[in-house]
């Protein structure tokens, strides 16, 4: 459903993505792993058109979507859960969710649908329902992350981009969030592109993965293959120290 060919992205002078190609099939969970500064977030931002892509091709359901406005991307069915949650802290949980569906608010039908979607999200994260009148800024980190995911789901995306959903959260909460992501994929057939520092957890859940290193793709494979790969184990699973054989 998503096909990226050779995208190159710059941040000013910094060459952040070098010839990156990637694809996602419908219903797949694909994880993107890599060290800090490898270009993972840049890749998500390029997909959402938050940063402009210099060259290359991004096809979503067969249509080119490179360099559209971010709002158009959301309308096409791609929602991003940004790194560090980025909820609107002075607004209530309810309002935060509503903002996720703001593009549907112009029509009566859209408003009705948003209500339905919201109740579905409350089913997914019951704690949000309990706190729906509370200001988002008063929520715990895990709750804010749930809210952030919920807000993205309000637009009923076909493709969900998740940027470090486990960052700074307690292991129990991470488990809960990953369980929800897995459910979304299995029950709602939402396609997920997951960027994670927690490579082990991400690979356990994902079908396939890519490894990004200093802006370049260096590996593509099934999650099982990547878990077995020594480069991945060394760099991202914290096993085995780096020691190159010398001639």
């Amino acid at each position: 459903m998503l096909k990226i060919k050779n995208i190159n992205t710059y941040y000013g002078q910094v060459y952040a993505l070098k010839n990156v190609s990637l694809h996602l099939k419908e219903g797949e969970i694909v994880t993107l792993i890599g060290a800090n500064g490898a270009g993972k977030t840049t890749l998500l931002n390029s997909l959402s058109c938050i940063v402009p892509v210099q060259s290359g091709e991004i096809l979503f359901a067969g249509e080119s979507i490179s360099n559209l406005a971010p709002s158009q991307i959301v309308r096409l069915g791609i929602s991003q859960v940004p790194e560090g949650r980025q909820v609107f802290k002075p607004l209530s949980v309810e309002d935060n969710l509503e903002l996720g569906a703001y593009q549907h608010y112009s029509s009566r039908a859209g408003r009705a649908e948003a209500k339905n979607t919201a109740s579905m999200i409350y089913d997914l994260f019951p704690i949000l329902h309990k706190r729906r009148k509370q200001l988002a800024g008063t929520l715990s980190g895990g709750e804010q992350q749930m809210l952030s995911i919920g807000r993205a789901l309000m637009a009923k995306p076909k493709l969900l981009l998740l940027d470090e959903p486990s960052m700074g959260l307690a292991p129990m909460i991470v488990q809960e969030i990953f369980r929800v992501i897995e459910n979304l994929s299995q029950e709602k057939q939402t396609t997920v592109l997951l960027v994670e520092q927690n490579a082990r957890a991400a690979l356990k859940m994902a079908h396939r993965g890519y490894v990004l290193e200093t802006g370049k793709m260096i590996l593509e494979g099934t999650a099982a293959e990547l878990l077995q790969n020594k480069d991945v184990q060394r760099a991202y699973l914290g096993r085995d120290k780096k020691e190159i054989w010398e001639r």
Partner: protein, 433 residues
């Protein structure tokens, strides 16, 4: 008809090309980072990994040849530290030094599944008993098929080569259903079975997977009628992975190349120019999933052609025709690759100098034999009597240890080898396949 890996074997061209591009770019990035040889080779035409933007950009990269592997002997072409390698195999080099190849854990798993693809395509299931009459050891053939059969869940009989009587006994008593061997050995077995007065119909054989040497449709018909099995061809070479590069389905009309793991190209062996689909030329392979020993545009030396038309079996991957001939002087003797240069090296070192020689390959019955005829030179003539006597023995031993095959050696008078235009042809291949 069963398909082992439906997702990959039946991919649409469009999906396949996306996957190939991703894997190609990742492979190029990895070899550029980890293998000095490739970094240097790419730098000559001034190529950086970012120049590879499409599958057709692959043609910008230089070829990898057997010579490159020789220079980087033993571990220079490895893309991972040696401690991550869990298996080492080797294959014939052009000199007395072999080519060393390595596999990581993942490589072994991927390899097994590739082999399982053509075994499944040939008809093998978990109910089968697979008798492997390939040589275990440094060669990749036996182990590759062994793993493939195990992944499928078939029972493996790791028989190894030779001992034909025991092979036949096991085949009868253990009720072998699948025979894996070289096609010429299958004929040898068929001959011995009928000699022993055994009716091949009483055997349980259902399928035969033959590879390791060139064969023909005529041989296929002969094997099938004499052993009462369905015979399929498969293709592989150790430098690239071993068996598991391509294999026939039951349509028996070309071998499907596993394009999600290997990109095949056909080139003109003289000019290196890439030829259009369907043309006959030398097969060049690039690996897409290998970790320890990736290969970029490896010149296989095998002459074939590619057929992109759809196959009745439902697999979408391109089919390569059976190997017609070699683009170099490599000989395949009983499934073992032999370079005349290896033999020449042995002769020069034992004869302590150049000696005119001729290599004669013949097929006696079903099996190949190799004879080396050497003209007596003054050097050999003047050897001490003792040494002269042991000369032939010594040469036989040396050639045997370098090439891995038994040969016979014969001395003839000086200037008695037939000459055309003042040159002795070094290799005479009398085989009719």
């Amino acid at each position: 008809m069963n398909i082992w890996d439906q997702t990959h074997e039946c991919m649409s061209r469009d999906e396949l090309e996306q996957l190939q591009l991703e894997r190609l770019q990742a492979t190029i990035n990895r070899v550029h980072k980890n293998v000095t040889h490739y970094r240097k080779k790419f730098a000559q035409p001034g190529i950086i990994p970012e120049d590879i933007r499409s599958l057709s950009d692959l043609t910008k990269l230089p070829f990898t040849t057997k010579e490159d592997l020789r220079i980087n002997y033993p571990y220079g072409m490895f893309a991972v530290p040696l401690r991550e390698v869990v298996r080492i195999h080797s294959s014939s080099g052009t000199t007395s030094k072999p080519i060393v190849v390595g596999y990581t854990k993942n490589d072994l798993r991927i390899w097994s599944n590739l082999v399982a693809r053509f075994m499944t395509a040939a008809g093998v299931t978990s109910d089968d008993l697979v008798q492997i009459a390939f040589s275990y050891g440094l060669f990749t053939g036996a182990f590759g098929i062994h793993y493939g059969a195990e992944v499928i869940g078939a029972s493996v009989i790791p028989m190894g080569t030779g001992n034909t009587e025991k092979q036949i006994m096991i085949m009868q008593d253990y009720k072998t259903t699948v025979l894996v061997s070289t096609p010429s050995y299958a004929l040898e077995l068929a001959g011995r079975i009928s000699q022993a007065g055994i009716d091949p119909q009483t055997l349980s054989l259902r399928f035969g997977l033959f590879g390791g040497e060139p064969w023909s449709e005529k041989m296929r018909r002969e094997i099938e009628s004499r052993l009462h099995l369905s015979a399929t061809d498969n293709y592989g070479l150790s430098e690239v992975i071993g068996p598991g590069i391509a294999g026939e389905c039951q349509c028996k009309n070309g071998m499907h190349v596993y394009e999600d793991s290997f990109i095949p190209e056909i080139i003109n062996p003289q000019t290196g120019e890439v030829l259009p689909a369907g043309a006959e030329g030398e097969l060049v392979l690039t690996t897409l999933t290998k970790e320890a020993f990736p290969m970029i545009r490896y010149r296989t030396g095998d002459i074939t052609s590619l057929d992109y038309s759809p196959c009745a079996c439902g697999r979408t991957q391109v089919r390569m025709q059976r190997i017609v001939r070699r683009s170099d002087d490599m000989l395949i003797i009983r499934g073992i690759n032999v370079y005349p240069s290896q033999i020449e090296e042995a002769i020069v070192s034992v004869a302590q100098g150049e000696a005119p020689y001729q290599i004669v390959v013949e097929r006696k019955g079903a099996m190949d034999s190799l004879e080396i005829i050497i003209e007596v030179t003054s050097k050999i003539f003047s050897l001490e009597l003792q040494k002269q006597r042991s000369f032939l023995e010594e040469l036989k031993k040396r050639i045997g240890s370098v090439t891995g095959i038994g040969v016979s050696v014969k001395l003839v008078e000086a200037n008695s080898l037939p000459k055309t235009e003042n040159k002795t042809s070094r290799v005479v291949d009398k085989r009719q396949i």
